[in-house]
Symmetry: C3
Subunit: 346 residues, 3 copies
């Protein structure tokens, strides 16, 4: 992702200025003049980027990173490759959150549409193609673009700079911010796209909000159900692949990547940074835990909850989810156990 | 259900025109001039209706149908009664979806309120009874009717031709389309009634949307919680019986029929075509799988998930749901099993 | 809680007038002239208050109550302390609901913002501090107060008399009624605060709505996710403690008290009158049953469902939830059982 888009990035800064601003420390051997111009995760960073490492579990990413500088705890300094400037802090996650605020000050001042003083609901700078229907009470923000043949239903909100393709339907009272939407996409009533992901630097003193500067990218022919929620990415984008159909009241967390032509049934939950392949089916009220990968064509039964990676084509059920056959055997075995315990009692 | 209401039905068509339009085939023996004027499921169809059969599992409905014509795979032709004109296609479900678009072209062009050019939020053709309160920012669509004593709260959307009875409360930012609402009904903030059901002709090339031309019918004295969702029916109606109370974040799928005086607690899910009797109680986060029937007065415990029909008065718990006593025995038996395994380890 | 605030309380009434209005009966020995000026639960009531007792399970609260009068069934009369005037009825819960309507008539006529005749979206009596941004389509009700630096995003609804502190963000199409919101609070798109709790006097003839006259109180630095719902209290308040972070599609029932710095992950459900301590973590799709208390720092795993009180610092998983170690042993034991049953079959 190229960050700029929804949040304006400030000027480059020296490592020393960052250190001062986030209340960190520079080792005496380090060069504070190195210039940093953006922020990335360890595996996405290059030499002008600041990154962060919260502990030894990220040692592999740390060793391989191309970041110019990295926020790190003193005790983890030995894991750091020589080419990266270490910035020492007890709270790398929190310091990184502060650095986002430094580089992207507008990420700290949330807005949906960018206000207009005159009471008009459609901003004069919005580009509205021919043959667009904007129903009563719908709001279209500054610099938004709406493609030909699209309908923005009553009470819907299309945020600042949001792009909506052709022949889309943004349902009543739905809201879309920080998002790029393909063609022939339907968002049903009350769907929520682009709000902040759920990210905090957690601590015993309280939880520090991590600004979320990614976007939501929705492919062509996607349908998203009523009151479903899709959070925007943290540093990268949340993506919904073309042709994917999402039912009502589904949650999709930040950085999740949903493949093409998936079917996600009502009240399912996809946690942050999950990756679903193509043609994955998730049944009603099922869930996938964060960072899990689900292969192409896998089937997650209704109410199943997936904690580990799932192979392509696998069929999983139960909590925690296991292959169908195994799950069925366990359900049957428990049933026999219950029956036997009754007989033992009588 | 009489379809016309929310979607205008086009003129009758000959079987031959349908065949051509959906890219199907007519057997040489068949009469292409038979006239079709509407679309129905096999068991609801009469002689001027087109229906569809996706495979042998619907053989019983097929044998009994009164449809005038039916979309069917070549391999299933032998199951078809002589009186029905077979229309041969590899994809009956998808072809039926295309036929809906033929008969109901407006079902392909979603709209919530029918647009007004002049920025007014209440359409001049809406019939608003005396003593109705319409709060700021609320939208009332073309030809909607609002009964005496009803309040439409701020930001709520009442769609095109929607009927709302007397002494109702449509909460802030709720939306109602394609629905008929009785008297003394409360829809809490953000409730969503009447959006498309989740219906697709699924295929390895992608999923083809099935237009949904049914409605939502809500009886008197019903209450529907904040951000709950009730999809409109596919060919028939989704119905909520009088006096039923539905909590927040509940999902009710298309064609579901919920009886009178039911209690549906928060985050429960009722899949498509489920039938609940009267005085059914569903606990929080419980679910019922599609096409299941639940008898009068049955109790589904919180978090239970029902996969098979439930008898009147039954009390069910667990996943998959089973009678309370059985479920309790199994939970106890597993608990003993766990305890014994610990003792074996120590 | 001091009730008056969102609902105007009427004049004091004699016990005799209440008896007549709710269709109850006074014992011949009782003094009908005792004056009642408000309504409370048994344990919150003092001598000028009316309370109610639905049966012997509340005997302890009944014995200790300081209520002036109490609705009670004839069969439970012997449990009543002498100092309380008994009001005899077959349906104490329903009669209490009727009494709420007597004292708080406006609780029977729901409204979100209090209507304005002139089409303006921000009521002229609302107090809007300096440096407040009100985006297009947002509605601010009568006598609401919005603190400095706060943004009300497009399509959001801030209800009648709602107080919103400084530097808050009320997201697009969110709604807040009957609530007091602290400083630096974020409500994401479509969040619903302050609607009626799910309370009915249930009976075989149907369910009688209990008016909900409490509020929602939200502490400083709270974040509430997209399309989450927080019901207002029944007689007391629903409270979210400072620094608590709530993800998307979470349900929080009436009278729930959530402590400080809790983390409630997506699609979790907190039933009515639950009490969470400080720094509690609830995983995705987990749930806590009504009236349960969860101690400080407890961890409820994703998908776990808590039915009994949880000690401070405990780690619970499974349905019904049990300590982590126990839960893991049971999962492992069932897995072995399933595996053995397969070997037995082959």
């Amino acid at each position: 992702m190229q960050h700029p888009g929804f949040f304006r990035r400030g000027d480059p800064m020296s490592v020393q200025s960052i250190v001062t601003a986030v209340g960190a420390e520079l080792s005496v051997l380090s060069d504070g003049v190195t210039e940093i111009d953006d922020l990335r995760a360890l595996n996405d960073a290059s030499v002008t980027h600041l990154s962060f490492c919260t502990g030894p579990r990220y040692a592999r990413e740390l060793v391989a990173t191309n970041a110019g500088a990295c926020l790190i705890k003193r005790r983890d300094l030995s894991l750091m490759p020589k080419r990266v400037v270490p910035i020492i802090t007890d709270t790398p996650h929190r310091a990184f959150a502060m650095a986002i605020g430094l580089f992207y000050p507008s990420s700290l001042q949330p807005e949906a549409t960018a206000a207009m003083a005159d009471g008009r609901l459609v901003h004069p700078t919005a580009e509205i193609a021919d043959d667009v229907t904007i129903e009563p009470g719908a709001v279209v923000g500054r610099e938004a673009k709406i493609g030909e043949g699209t309908t923005i239903a009553a009470g819907a909100v299309v945020g600042y700079r949001v792009f909506v393709g052709r022949d889309c339907y943004i349902g009543p009272a739905a809201s879309v911010t920080h998002a790029l939407i393909g063609d022939r996409v339907t968002l049903h009533a009350g769907a929520r796209l682009g709000q902040d992901g759920f990210g905090y630097a957690v601590s015993p003193e309280g939880h520090f909000k991590i600004p979320q500067i990614g976007r939501v990218i929705v492919g062509d022919d996607v349908e998203i159900g009523a009151n479903s929620t899709v959070d925007r990415g943290f540093l990268t984008d949340t993506k919904i692949g073309e042709g994917t159909k999402i039912d009502n009241l589904v949650q999709i967390g930040h950085n999740a990547v949903v493949g093409r032509h998936c079917i996600i049934v009502s009240q399912a939950g996809i946690a942050g940074s999950v990756q679903l392949g193509d043609f994955v089916v998730m049944g009603a009220q099922s869930g996938v835990v964060e960072h899990v990968k689900v292969g192409d064509g896998a089937l997650i039964a209704g109410m199943a909850h997936v904690k580990n990676d799932v192979a392509a084509g696998a069929r999983m059920g139960g909590t925690p989810a296991r292959p169908f056959a195994e799950w069925a055997r366990e359900v049957a075995a428990v049933r026999r156990l219950g029956k036997n315990s009754r007989q033992a009692q009588t």
